[in-house]
């Protein structure tokens, strides 16, 4: 398994009032026998008297690596560095962001800092959505849509406050922004914790299992009322790693600012293991996952979630990476 031994990190995002604090209180009060460190934002207030709650001011650092959109959460780097010194071993780290936070810096922290990368792995980005107010929030500014776009797991919360028809419309809306996240509905943030913590969202089999659409071509039935959309690409057969790296490097450099998330599973020429990658804006991380099963037909697939994506151009570029 990729990333074994690394502490899984869950990022909890969502608009003010979406139910983040309620979910955190559930996680902390449930008797799961696990030890989580919870990093809350400066405005957060938890009802649980829990020792491992750390209050952090969201501090956005620009990285000195020449990458203009690479910002990270400096406070997280420091807190995680400190947590790793503790004698008590952690089963996970949960990071809550403020309601209007851009999820990019917090996610990029787990790609851009060598020390953080060597000890932790980004497990899941969870976005809580207030079923009643999300439509208005989407109209208010770009934050709500970007939080939805970043998610591996969407929790459509407060479903008791809307009608069945409204709920269906909201769900369609979320799907038009992010087609690949798992979506679960809840009331008062009541969700099984196994859905939220240590999901291994980035493992290949999980990706397919939780998002069956992952491998399916999009078709054109989705109605895009937002400039954010999801694109999936598949390529039967194998990919030439060097060509792929060149192409992906170019895409992320030139379009990275508009690409919130990218993920993929590749069959490489001459490699029995699958290559899994995931990216946040211009940052990307790859690792090898389980080998292809004997007799299984090898194919590569990837998804992009972003703004103003040119699906045809992406498809053509990906196709040029095919091994021959």
């Amino acid at each position: 398994m990729a990333g074994a031994g690394l502490i899984p990190v869950t990022i909890l995002t969502g608009y003010l009032g979406a139910g983040k604090t309620t979910l955190l209180n559930r996680i902390l009060s449930e008797n799961h026998g696990k030890k989580f460190a919870v990093i809350i934002n400066e405005f957060g207030e938890l009802g649980v008297d829990e020792q491992l709650v750390i209050s952090a001011d969201e501090e956005i650092f620009e990285m000195n690596n020449g990458c203009i959109c690479c910002t990270v959460r400096g406070d997280l780097i420091r807190v995680i560095g400190g947590l790793l010194k503790r004698s008590q071993k952690l089963d996970g780290i949960i990071v809550e962001t403020t309601g209007l936070a851009d999820p990019a810096p917090v996610a990029q922290t787990f790609f851009a800092d060598a020390e953080v990368q060597s000890r932790t792995r980004l497990d899941t980005i969870v976005t809580l959505v207030d079923a009643k107010h999300v439509t208005a929030q989407l109209a208010e500014g770009r934050e709500a849509a970007e939080q939805i776009a970043f998610a591996d797991l969407l929790i459509l919360n407060k479903t008791d406050l809307v009608t069945a028809a409204e709920l269906e419309a909201v769900q369609q809306r979320l799907r038009s922004i992010n087609r690949f996240a798992e979506l679960i509905r809840s009331v008062e943030s009541e969700v099984p914790l196994a859905k939220v913590l240590n999901r291994q969202s980035f493992e290949l089999d999980r990706m397919i299992e939780i998002a069956p659409d992952f491998l399916a071509p999009e078709g054109h039935h989705h109605h895009h009322d937002s400039d954010i959309q999801s694109v999936s690409l598949t390529l039967p057969g194998e990919v030439e790693l060097e060509d792929f790296e060149d192409w992906m490097g170019f895409i992320l450099k030139s379009k990275g600012a508009d690409i919130f998330r990218s993920k993929g599973i590749l069959a490489l020429a001459g490699e029995r293991r699958r290559l899994v990658f995931q990216g946040v804006h211009m940052q990307m991380r790859t690792s090898f996952a389980q080998p292809w099963r004997p007799g299984q037909s090898r194919s590569s697939c990837m998804v992009f979630i972003g703004r103003n994506l040119d699906e045809d151009e992406l498809r053509k570029g990906f196709e040029l990476c095919a091994a021959f």
Binding site: Q51, D57, F61, I77, R78
Partner: protein, 367 residues
């Protein structure tokens, strides 16, 4: 535990090894009063400080002092000599005074905050990190300086001024003897990047800052004009100056590179290679990187801690002199290192090192 030290020792020395089973986050030496042996403090990831002292004769005695409530499972993060003991900051938000007898007095408590940097002025004035603020212990009262634009990463007294590092540069506070609010001034000295560690040259002329982004930046303490040095290929978590203030070294790379401060200074000049080839390789075949550096302040001497758990001591400045290599922890980084020169009862030094896995050593050298 028997020290594993090679027989060919350049100077008379003795060593004592410990194993604590917890991350060693900081070490410090308190010279003590004349006639006393120095007191050594080791701060650990289990929320304790261990005090170690050499008794009459040569046996070392240790004492465990709990700082963070065991139920909180927190860690002591910083340590500095104060009075006859130490001051310790922890991730439960506490700042504590630890006396030589092992008594603990809580000086401050800020729940959900971490105190991860502390600096003691010569007269005992304690400054500590408190998020974007600096805490000052003035007698029995606590003052808050700030807020700064970003969280405090390190603190250092430059005579009566307090230099504070943070993302984007340095802030220098000055105040009257009571740090009265109306009299406190703060100057910002900007340099982009994530400043994490400060170190003053022994002659007091230069203040060096180590950046996580792989850079060292230096300010002159007279007017705080700065010096731009060429890039550095590693995270600089630790800095040390040579005793004569002519070389500045940092951690994060496999070689000991000394930035020259003679003549025109380091600007536009490459660093001198002081030492390389510490030996060994990691699993990827790369030479081990330096994780901590420390130096003598009264005479020649370097201590270098490596990511592979080795401690390398250079006590002799003759060109062909061999360093002393101590295998301290197998494959686990040296995470805390301090060098303290002593003038009594006889000239010498005490060097303390601790590792990620709790392996620690105290080496005393007679010079």
């Amino acid at each position: 535990m028997k020290p594993k030290i090679p027989a060919a020792a350049p100077k008379p020395y003795s060593a004592f090894q410990f194993s604590f089973d917890h991350y060693v986050t900081a070490v410090a030496v308190n010279r003590g009063l004349p006639g006393q042996s120095p007191l050594i403090g080791l701060a650990l990831g289990d929320g304790t400080v261990r005090l170690v002292r050499q008794e009459q004769g040569s046996s070392w005695q240790g004492q465990e002092v709990r700082i963070v409530d065991a139920a909180l499972a927190g860690s002591v993060l910083c340590l500095a000599a104060l009075g006859d003991g130490f001051v310790a900051g922890a991730d439960d938000g506490s700042l504590s005074l630890v006396t030589a007898q092992g008594l603990v007095e809580r000086l401050a408590h800020h729940p959900q905050r971490w105190i991860d940097a502390v600096a003691v002025r010569r007269d005992g004035l304690v400054a500590f990190s408190l998020g974007k603020f600096v805490g000052l212990r003035l007698g029995d009262t606590e003052l808050k300086l700030g807020p700064l634009p970003f969280s405090v990463t390190d603190l250092l007294w430059v005579r009566n001024r307090l230099a504070v590092s943070h993302f984007g540069g340095l802030s220098v506070f000055a105040g009257d003897s009571n740090w009265h609010e109306d009299e406190v001034t703060v100057q910002q000295y900007r340099w982009p990047g994530n400043h994490e560690k400060l170190k003053l040259s022994p002659d007091g002329q230069y203040l060096a800052s180590g950046l996580r982004d792989g850079e060292i930046h230096v300010w002159r303490t007279g007017d705080f004009s700065d010096m731009q040095m060429a890039g550095y290929p590693g995270r600089v978590a630790s800095l040390a100056w040579s005793w004569d203030s002519l070389h500045l070294v940092g951690s994060g790379i496999p070689e000991l590179l000394g930035w020259p401060f003679d003549g025109d200074g380091p600007e536009g000049r490459p660093p001198d290679l002081l030492w390389s080839g510490f030996g060994g390789q990691d699993s990827a075949g790369a030479p081990p990187r330096i994780s901590r550096v420390a130096s003598a302040s009264h005479r020649f001497g370097w201590a270098v801690g490596l990511e592979n758990g080795q401690l390398v001591l250079h006590l002799d400045d003759r060109p062909k002199a061999k360093p002393l290599v101590v295998p301290l922890a197998k494959g686990r980084a040296v995470t805390a290192l301090d060098w303290c020169d002593l003038n009594q009862p006889e000239p010498g030094a005490v060097i303390v090192a601790g590792c990620e896995n709790g392996k620690s050593i105290i080496i005393t050298v007679k010079l």
